[in-house]
Symmetry: C2
Subunit: 217 residues, 2 copies
């Protein structure tokens, strides 16, 4: 049984290790968790004692099989709760994160599995991220960044890379959400901004925006 804090660390290590290769560095977790590197070192030792990570001094950590499983169980709960909040409790996709961060620590297998049934076994959360099933398996589409979508080819928005409230609200205002049909009409050479068709409206977005939107061609 983990403490709140060890769960947070495992999740953070999982996320960082997904978006980069090799061992996970102390500093990257410090940033993610919002703690000092020295505190992270302390925790790395504890996690290593519990065989949840492999830790070599000065070389960072990587999750063990048991560590990955624990992380996925938390991510499963997080994403199921986010789905519930949006589908039944009138939360917007930019509001769910903070509450799901709390709910993901609730310990009850029955609760998690019944919630999944109640939601009718969703495969993706409101941000388009895949939800691990009971066996901790998740389907990932082969999505690409909007910057990589060829001009004039259509794609469906299936997720975002930046999950911050600010970005999500910005997309809301531009009427872009999961499922929105997107098409790059023109790529500006000068500043790499894009003219796109989003649903029924045409608009201009910056390169920075485009590289935070995932599409399925």
């Amino acid at each position: 049984m983990q403490t709140l804090s060890t769960e947070d660390y495992l999740k953070a290590i999982y996320h960082v290790s997904q978006s980069s290769s090799g061992a996970v560095a102390t500093t990257s977790i410090a940033k993610q968790i919002g703690a000092k590197p020295s505190s992270v070192t302390d925790m790395f030792k504890k996690l290593s004692d519990q065989n949840l990570v492999k830790y070599q001094k000065y070389q960072g950590v990587s999750l063990t099989n048991e560590g990955v499983k624990t992380a996925l169980r938390i991510i499963r709960k997080h994403r199921l709760w986010e789905s519930f909040l949006v589908s039944h409790l009138n939360f917007n996709w930019d509001e769910v994160h903070q509450v799901a961060e709390q709910l993901e620590h609730i310990q009850s297998e029955k609760l998690t599995n019944e919630l999944e049934r109640f939601l009718d076994y969703p495969t993706h959360d409101p941000h388009g991220d895949p939800i691990p099933n009971r066996a901790l398996f998740m389907k990932t589409y082969n999505k690409i960044l909007l910057t990589e979508l060829p001009v004039n080819k259509e794609g469906v928005c299936v997720g975002v890379r930046d999950n911050s409230s600010g970005f999500l609200r910005y997309l809301d205002r531009r009427q872009i959400g999961i499922g929105t049909l997107l098409q790059v009409l023109h790529r500006e050479d000068f500043d790499e901004s894009l003219h796109i068709q989003a649903g029924k409206s045409t608009l201009m977005i910056t390169k920075k925006t485009a590289e935070n939107i995932y599409v399925k061609p």
Copy 2:
């Protein structure tokens, strides 16, 4: 903002103060929380510093107005979650307590209020206990113990005093639940056991059982 632990203490103090008069003793909270009396004394001091209780050395504590409000906010969440677990997630009334003990600490006013709306503003939880509304007001019926119901008068089961799994499962097996119509057919002078009509079946229950069932005449 309270810690998990202070919330548990406030709730415990509230419950004990409801079922007895005067100040709440150190030992009674120690029993309720499952901690040693010395730990309880420590916490009484902390709660007193935060003006959540009035504390006099050797004389126990009583909740301040702010302490009562905090306790009721937690109880509100606890009972709403219990209702949700039973009504939507296939939990039995004897299974909900442990999970609700965790869920009651989730901090999000929007979550609580939306959950209440989703459940259509329930007034009582699965054990018949009243749920404080947004203004922390709760309706209590004038219920009596089954031992006090006059022979041959009918009453509806509206709650239980003992919320333990064991007792609730015992009632389940006897097909007694919230809303069951009860009638005392005969009171045995010898051991104070009761012959009762419960719904459509007749059965015998002990005094101990009867004094843990609340009825509305």
